[in-house]
């Protein structure tokens, strides 16, 4: 078994995989979380990042070794579903300088043309690995290596809601106004978090996001359709 268990706080146990970004780890974590939540009623909730699952129990843990053994047993029974179908969501993005103040700086630093950026960024399928940082903030893998850029040394005070940004080897979408250290390269009118509905996020880890470049006019059209509740995201199934 190449995973480790560690106590975290009075009620939590961390399950740790090797520190890397891998689809097989993601699938294993998803299957494992489903199974532990099913089989161990003492668990309150669980969630994951690239290489860790955090499990919180309803009550403080009195016998750590017992819980670890129980989790190991469940891990042994965990089966990864290969050939699983993932949803690919098509998310409209307007890549224009006056919508995202960082775009010019990003292109200068990367010595890229705007067309090259759009071509590369919209061609890739970006895997949703997990949601964190802000409510509904997706951590997306699958960035073409040519587009990666180190985070800003001094984070910007305000990145606007809807900003599609690159930080390191990842793309992220700011679901609300926030300080942040990533470079904004585009703007999307799509909402990624709505706490007034039962499932506040429509994207799930394991899904893909594919960005679709839209013009200023198309952006306006989509915004007005969203405001009257007449816009639906396109999605397709993809066997990974």
């Amino acid at each position: 078994m190449n995973i480790h268990f560690k106590a975290y706080g009075h009620k939590g146990i961390l399950v740790q995989w090797p520190a890397e970004i891998k689809d097989s780890t993601l699938f294993e974590q998803q299957a494992f979380i489903k199974l532990v939540e099913d089989k161990i009623p003492e668990i309150d909730f669980a969630y994951h990042t690239y290489q860790e699952v955090y499990i919180e129990y309803k009550r403080p843990i009195s016998n750590l070794e017992l819980h670890k053994t129980q989790l190991k047993e469940v891990y042994k029974q965990t089966q990864i579903e290969f050939n699983q179908k993932s949803i690919v969501w098509s998310v409209p993005v307007c890549y224009e300088e006056d919508l995202v103040p960082d775009l010019k700086l990003y292109l200068e630093k990367k010595k890229l043309s705007l067309d090259a950026l759009i071509t590369l960024h919209t061609a890739a399928k970006h895997r949703v690995y997990f949601i964190g940082f802000l409510p509904g903030f997706l951590y997306l893998g699958g960035l073409p290596p040519k587009l990666s850029i180190n985070r800003k040394e001094i984070p910007s005070k305000l990145i606007k809601k809807g900003t599609v940004a690159i930080g390191g080897k990842q793309t992220g979408i700011y679901p609300q106004n926030s300080p942040g250290g990533w470079y904004g390269i585009g703007y999307t009118p799509i909402s990624f978090f709505d706490p007034s509905i039962k499932e506040p996020t429509w994207a799930k880890s394991g899904d893909f996001i594919q960005f679709k470049s839209v013009s200023r006019d198309e952006l306006k059209d989509i915004e007005s359709r969203i405001s009257v509740g007449n816009f639906q995201l396109e999605s397709t199934a993809y066997a990974s």
Binding site: G9, E56, F133, F193
Partner: protein, 284 residues
Amino acid sequence: MLAKIEMLKKGVLMSIQDKGRSKHASIGVPRAGYVDTKEAVKLNTLLGNKKSAAVLEWSMLGPKLKFPKPTYIAISQHTVGSSLNGTNIRTREKIFVPADSVLKLGTSREKMYQYVAIKDGFKTENVLSSQSHLVGYLDSENMELKYVPIIEDAFNLSRPSFQLPSLGSNNLVRSMEALPGPEFDLLPKSILDALSNYFTLSNRRDRMGIQFNELVANDLPSMLSVPIIPGTIQLTPGGKMILLGKDCQTTGGYPRILWLPEDALAKLYQLPVGVKFKLKISSQ
């Protein structure tokens, strides 16, 4: 019928808090909840409320509120300078508020976060099964504060107030219990030695976290984003120690070197700037 409180003057860092919403970490939602759970529960108990009823929290400068209908309130222990219709009122006590009263809430030199609880809890908007403030979605600084008024009768008016015995001053507590965090094992002896020094809290503090004044030099490796929970102390590459509060993010990328149990977290959060304390690290 609910009565609506009129906000005559806002306080500092005001927010409505209940026990929070821990179950939504998988979609990046902070837990939130009372900074000082013990104090909030105490006040709710005094009023005969559910333990988890919503209270109003603020820091340093309290708000001024007008109540159109009668109710009961209770104010946190160390809050000084509170008055009802111009008369000073006591803390940790069930206080009758007649119709059309003006309540001025005070401040504290000993505790950073103050509370007022109301009979049956504040009635405000609920998001993801909690009334706690949620940045960007539930703005409790500007929301309508409502409450269930009580029926004014002879029994209510004649009921004497009572004072609970004091639990003693938290100011004497200078040693905070801490447990090893997930990356504790990576710490070399030089850092373990540095952790046994006195620390103080800086002005860089809010419900998401508090930065310590003292730096701890380190060359710990950088990490991918991992789960984080309130009470964790992170150590940044620049040597900053950051204590994560109830509104902390669900994921973060700095080594999680220590973790403070809920009681210690509340005590540290209530400590004013400049007070010295030590971390007493026990094994898990």
